[in-house]
């Protein structure tokens, strides 16, 4: 199981550790008696009620074996604090099953957006890129200091902001900003280049309507203007 655990919190039974992640607030409970840990957690939530209000909680309960009654009660108590229990992470399959029965998530996605800001392990020096293999839907924002490669579509309403180049193996219809840090050599290419708006460094362009059958294109800056040209094999 690839459930992240903050091991340092486990050493001290009295601690409740809160960390913001993409899905909400990840709370790691210390080890020890469940009732005690629960009490500590609830007190913690009450103390920070103003700050946490309306938040989604993901609870990491470690190795504890929890039954529906225990988890259900905690969920209710959490919802009374104007918070919602969204997921439970556990090393115990029993607890995981309990959580699933209650309709709670038992694993969190690997944080996509946050992760993009971390340098990736690549063999090419100085060329950092993030590869996303999914369709970016409306409302999704992908920001990365290096290059961005998407295998999938970028739908209208989604945005990509990259320090370097943007390559879309699919339809690019959202907003894309390459060379966002001012890199005028950045390029954007896509199998179907029809973004709502295309920016390279400080220049902004939109896509003309009705362009017939889509063909792979590459957009770059030429004399301070965004130009898009058809991609053909062998051409540079």
């Amino acid at each position: 199981m690839e459930t992240p655990h903050l091991s340092e919190a486990m050493d001290n039974p009295a601690t409740v550790r809160i960390k913001g992640i993409r899905e909400g607030l990840l709370i790691t409970l210390g080890e020890g008696d469940w009732l005690e840990a629960r009490q500590t957690l609830l007190e913690h939530l009450r103390q920070q009620a103003e700050f946490l209000r309306g938040g989604r909680l993901i609870l990491d309960v470690g190795n504890r074996v929890l039954r529906a009654a225990e988890l259900g009660q905690l969920r209710d108590e959490i919802s009374e604090e104007d918070l919602s229990l969204w997921g439970v992470l556990s090393n115990s399959p029993v607890t995981e099953q309990t959580a699933q029965t209650l309709g709670l998530a038992t694993r969190i996605n690997k944080p996509k957006v946050e992760r993009t800001s971390q340098p990736l392990d690549t063999t090419l020096t100085g060329e950092q890129a993030v590869l996303v293999r999914r369709t970016l839907r409306s409302g999704f924002s992908l920001q990365h200091n290096g290059h961005v490669i998407v295998v999938g579509d970028v739908n209208p309403g989604a945005e990509i902001i990259a320090g370097g180049d943007v390559v879309v193996w699919g339809r690019l219809r959202g907003m894309v900003h390459a060379g966002a840090d001012g890199n005028e050599d950045a390029v954007v290419c896509a199998l179907d280049l029809s973004p709502t708006q295309l920016r390279i460094a400080g220049q902004i362009a939109t896509t003309p309507r009705h362009r017939g059958k889509p063909q792979p294109e590459l957009a770059r800056l030429q004399d301070g203007q965004v130009v898009a040209e058809l991609w053909s094999a062998g051409k540079k």
């Binding site: 919602s84 739908n155 309403g157």
Partner: protein, 267 residues
């Protein structure tokens, strides 16, 4: 483990979530299933009106959640279909009156009681939407062949995927075959190309739907209506039957042929 919980949502308002909920519920109940609809649009309830049950409300969803009544007491039995029940929303409260876990608990209580639970989600992506999708086994996204509605549907599908509630199924409502033929409206294929989800049904635009919702009489009960037929087909697909999609473009041809048949006689 009992009932299947289905949530209808859309992001954008006014695309026909409530109408679709009422009609699918009526169609499923006509097929002999026990169906409970829940109106999750607290503060802006409509499903009771569309089902024609407005004047029977005594207790509502918030009363159940807050323990002022038993679940059974809030379930209003439909006047025509004895297997169809409605749990109405509270009109005097707002979305924060209940939490997603309240909805999960409520649906767990309903599961052994019936065959289907249909939840009518409010528009938007906030608390009300979260409440509505929390207990869902399957989520149906309703959209219209309009750019703005499709954009919102795309966002909603992304949120559903992030909640691991997917894959969502799509209903395209209010499709006008004549306009598609003239390329003045997005076709179901255009919508599907963008959203890339499974299509559950296409409902043709039909002015009788408006009449039926105003009268509180779901069009799915009208054997002659094409929209009603489309809703009944979706209900059968939900039951696992493979029902071919209706040929919407034929409608124009039939009318064309009919008018051609009639005109010589009347002239």
């Amino acid at each position: 483990m009992g009932a299947k919980v289905i949530t209808l949502t859309s992001g954008k308002g006014g695309v026909g979530k409530t109408t679709a909920t009422a009609n699918l519920a009526a169609a499923l109940a006509t097929d002999g299933h026990k169906v409970v609809c829940i109106d999750a649009d607290i503060g802006l309830r409509n499903l009771d009106v569309v089902l024609g049950l407005e004047n029977r409300i005594v207790y509502d969803l918030v009363d159940v959640v807050e323990g002022r009544c038993r679940l059974r007491q809030a379930m209003i039995r439909d006047k025509r279909l004895p297997e169809l029940f409605l749990i109405p929303a509270a009109q005097t409260r707002d979305k924060t009156a209940i939490s997603p876990s309240d909805m999960v608990r409520l649906c767990d209580d309903l599961r052994p009681e019936c065959d289907w639970v249909l939840i009518d989600s409010p528009a938007g992506i906030e608390r009300g939407f979260r409440n509505a999708i929390a207990p869902a086994d399957t989520i149906l996204v309703v959209t219209n062949p309009e750019v703005s509605a499709v954009r919102d549907a795309d966002r909603i599908i992304g949120l559903i995927e992030a909640e691991e509630k997917g894959p969502a199924l799509l209903i395209i409502n209010r499709v006008k075959p004549e306009l598609i033929k003239r390329e003045e409206m997005l076709s179901p294929d255009d919508v599907l190309e963008l959203l890339a989800v499974e299509l559950l049904g296409v409902i043709p635009d039909d002015p009788n739907v408006l009449l039926s919702t105003n009268r509180g009489l779901p069009i799915a009960l009208d054997g002659k209506s094409k929209a009603g037929q489309a809703f009944r087909n979706i209900a059968r697909r939900l039951q696992g039957e493979s029902v071919p999609f209706m040929e919407l473009t034929d409608q124009g041809n039939i009318f064309g042929r009919l008018s051609r048949l009639i005109r010589p006689g009347s002239a």
